[in-house]
Symmetry: C2
DNA sequence: AAAATAATTTGATAAATATCAAAATACTAT
DNA sequence: ATAGTATTTTGATATTTATCAAATTATTTT
């Protein structure tokens, strides 16, 4: 139950709610959020770390920036499940996710592509997070970057598009927005 | 948004969560809850009032006791609705409920039985709340009590049973438990 | 390697609030 | 009415925490 309280405390703050609203629109990073809300980067960071700790947001680095994003599955659950089913479900999923990542990534490189759909999705999402949100990647550049993760970059690219993590237009790629309305 | 924060702050406290767990099991009253949680009645009252204010619980008096109960519909909603649909839905429902009650009760007495099903349910629930939870009522006593609300106590009694607020066994009646598993 | 930039951490402070004991209210039963 | 019982309010206190400015750390680019 302690975990549930921590989770709820995270939500029960005007600044953090505002941050979540921003992240619900699109992934973002500390300084940008700080500017939008007229808060110090330090303060925003404090909030984000707190929420990351509670499993509400995740982050991944791209270029200079640490891109934060919502853990969207969380928000589809009914309140009763979060309050009374006491952590278990949520917690178990986070643990599972980490286990999958640990077993397929070694030093940031993929050892194989999971065949189970659920596992594959988790792994692909992780790879996708390494790409910047607004940016457009030429196919050549993309291939090069994917090669850092996995030798068979063609399969990897195809799957990323197939699972909806990347969008393709002619020879150019970009990260797909995680649109909540399309869930 | 201010209302959302208040609502979440209500949930984000160990003592209040514990109270909600108790109320999820069955309706209860201040002293009993205080005993179970090893808190002062004053403290428990403070929490309950706070939650009542936020629309999380409701209360009604019976005999010595003020019986508190969960506002169960609230907990079926997905978190996203509570956070991002920003109060509107919840708030609007509370306002609506109050409006219905105001228009059909005058000095605690029913002026008429609403014909709209939704309104009727709200009104009947309110009447049902005036009966104690564990107690058994003989038909005669029940009729007498219903007469305080409405002249046509027969219809009222029939509807209370029909909507599932009262349970009948031979000539005896009791309040039906609000079982969440039967929702 | 050095310079640039963003993120995080730290130390301090002011505001919010959970809790209790005790007093005040509200209601019931005799 | 009076006594009995439960609830609510009040005043005080200790804890928690959101926030900032400034210092530090982590990455990237040149």
């Amino acid at each position: 139950m302690e975990h549930t309280v921590q989770f709820l405390k995270c939500l029960a703050d005007p600044s953090r709610l505002a941050i979540l609203h921003i992240l619900a629109e699109r992934d973002s990073y500390v300084e940008l959020i700080a500017a939008k809300l007229d808060l110090t980067p330090g303060t925003v960071c404090y909030h984000l770390k707190k929420m990351e700790h509670a499993g509400i947001v995740r982050c991944s680095r791209t270029q200079f920036y640490v891109i934060y994003s919502l853990n969207r599955e969380l928000f589809d659950r009914p309140l009763s499940e979060l309050l009374f089913a006491s952590d278990q479900t949520v917690e178990r999923e986070n643990v599972y996710r980490q286990k999958v990542l640990d077993s397929f990534f070694v030093n940031g490189r993929l050892t194989a592509l999971p065949s189970q759909r659920k596992k594959r999705e988790i792994v692909l999402e992780k790879v996708a997070e390494s790409f910047a949100m607004g940016r457009v990647y030429e196919e050549k550049e993309l291939n090069h970057l994917l090669l850092d993760f996995y030798d068979d970059y063609c399969t990897l690219r195809r799957e990323l598009v197939g699972f909806g993590f990347l969008e393709r237009e002619q020879e150019r790629y970009r990260r797909a927005p995680k649109d909540p309305s399309e869930k």
